[in-house]
Amino acid sequence: MNSVKIEDLRKKYGSVNALDGLNITVESGSVFGFLGPNGAGKTTTLRILAGLAQADSGSIFFGEQNITKSGTAQKDRLGYLPEEPAFYAWMSPREYLDYVGKIFKLDAKERRQRVDQLLEQSGLKEAAKRHIGGFSRGMRQRLGIAQALMNHPSILLLDEPVSALDPAGRKEVLEMIESLGRECTVIMSSHILADVERVCDTVGIINKGKLITQAKKEDLMDRYAIPALELTTGNGSAAQMPEWKLRLEKLPGVTGVTVEGYSFHLAVKDVHTAQQEIMQDALAHNTTFEKLEVVKPSLEDIFMQLTGSQK
């Protein structure tokens, strides 16, 4: 297992600063959640780590070794899954995994065992001899994860690993990623904050190519423990919810509103003031609700607060 250290990484595309002095340290054996809005620089960072793009300046260390300019040498210990994994349509998953095993110079016996194991683990055993060209996006994603694990990587880079999966597949893959933290260092980017919250022990939030914050998930929750309320409206209020949301957003004590089913999740400045404002608003507009309770802030609240994605 290796730790990963990124120092002052910079990358420009034309006049756009994709990475603007990014600094990240990922401890050995941790599952690191890499968060940021679209265009924040997550994919660029992972592509540089995977050796598919070059930084303009800065350094990358795997353990003690500076791998910034080490060519293919560091790739022996890497596993990489891009956001949209692409395969040779004419190959079967068994052939593809075998090909990857050969690239990692695994001997024939080891390759066969590992391929069988990964096909089983990724739920592709039944489709092992089918052409990948006929696979669904979810099947490709699972094959993508399998190929990233072929060499028992010490560092695993996953770019949106569950974005194409159905709920059951997502659950399985997230459990797998969680368990991998014991075997290797995982860096996972995702825009699904609930997934990061569920499997990652450390979280880094970047925006405009810079690290905004990085901490253990629990520390982050404590540090940015912004008060939050949950307002449950009940089934009959669906039609009123859009208008109600607009009213809630205008309340002085409320800093952010998200809708989840029949509930509003409210980031607030002060719990008591916000509670009073919400109840007064409900009375004034003759609106009823089932429940108004204080809740623990979610990673989404923190993310929205830090990236300025709120009102």
């Binding site: 592509r47 995977a50 050796g51 598919l52 793009a53 070059q54 060519g71 293919t72 040498a73 790739k75 022996d76 890497l78 990489y80 891009p82 949209e84 994994p85 692409a86 395969f87 040779y88 004419w90 190959m91 090909y99 990857v100 050969k102 690239i103 990692f104 993508g144 190929q147 060499n151």
Partner: protein
């Protein structure tokens, strides 16, 4: 060595995607039919309405006509296949993302690129060799014996000629992200090299000289000027070198 791993995969791809079969069928078909066509031209002319008058004007076909027909057919269709097979070799892999998947692993970019050239070269070598055997067999029965050493040299020059265009198209395929741009540029280069090769005196320094060298060898005329061969080898090496230099820095 990862070059062999990549080469095995590339050659398997040539077979699975039928490129190998197409090259084999097209070139062998022309190898077989070229001597036949040379032999049958006078008879074919008599079948065309009004063609009887011309049939008498056509001299009796010779072994040189069969060889000329073979060289013309195999190089023309061979170059077309070389361009079509090579145009997407790099561009499609970069565009689809399959190259990124493989090159994030310990596969050197040089091996990845060279394996593509080597597998295409292997396809054309095998196809031309079998086409050459077929053409030799039919020519032997229809016209008589050919000098085997000269025949081998002729086919070697044809292969080299085709590989020039494989290498050039691979370079364009590496420099662009679209296979259609690559084949367009290759066609342009084919035309330019063809024009340059047709210039009196100067033309013998270009790849087209390989074709005229091949004809001269078969007709028993000694070739004294091998510049075209060295230039062709140079173009192959330079194209592959330039493709590697460009590919090594490319972002995937």
């Amino acid at each position: 060595m990862n070059f062999m791993t990549a080469l095995n995969k590339e050659f398997l791809e040539q077979r699975r995607t039928r490129k190998f079969l197409i090259a084999l069928v097209v070139l062998v078909l022309f190898g077989m039919t070229s001597p036949l066509m040379a032999k049958m031209i006078p008879q074919i002319m008599t079948l065309v309405p009004g063609g009887e008058a011309f049939a008498g004007l056509i001299p009796d076909p010779t072994i040189n006509d069969a060889v000329a027909q073979y060289i013309k057919n195999v190089t023309q269709f061979g170059v077309l296949l070389a361009l079509v097979f090579s145009m997407g070799a790099m561009a499609v892999e970069k565009d689809k993302g399959t190259a990124a998947m493989i090159l994030s692993k310990p596969m050197p970019r040089g091996s990845f690129l060279l394996a593509k050239f080597a597998s295409l070269a292997l396809t054309f070598i095998i196809a031309v060799v079998i086409a050459g055997v077929a053409a030799y067999y039919y020519t032997y029965f229809l016209f008589g014996e050919l000098n085997i050493l000269n025949w081998l040299t002729l086919n070697g020059l044809i292969i080299l000629y085709l590989l020039v265009y494989v290498a050039i198209t691979l370079l364009y395929s590496t420099l662009t992200r679209t296979q259609y741009v690559a084949i367009g540029l290759s066609f342009g280069t084919l035309i330019v090299l063809g024009i340059l090769g047709g210039l009196p005196g100067f033309g013998s320094n270009f790849p087209d000289a390989l074709i005229s060298d091949a004809s001269m060898i078969m007709s028993g005329t000694p070739v004294t000027h091998w510049t075209g061969l060295w230039v062709s080898l140079g173009i192959i090496i330079l194209s592959l070198g330039a493709a590697w230099l460009a590919f090594r820095k490319q972002e995937l």
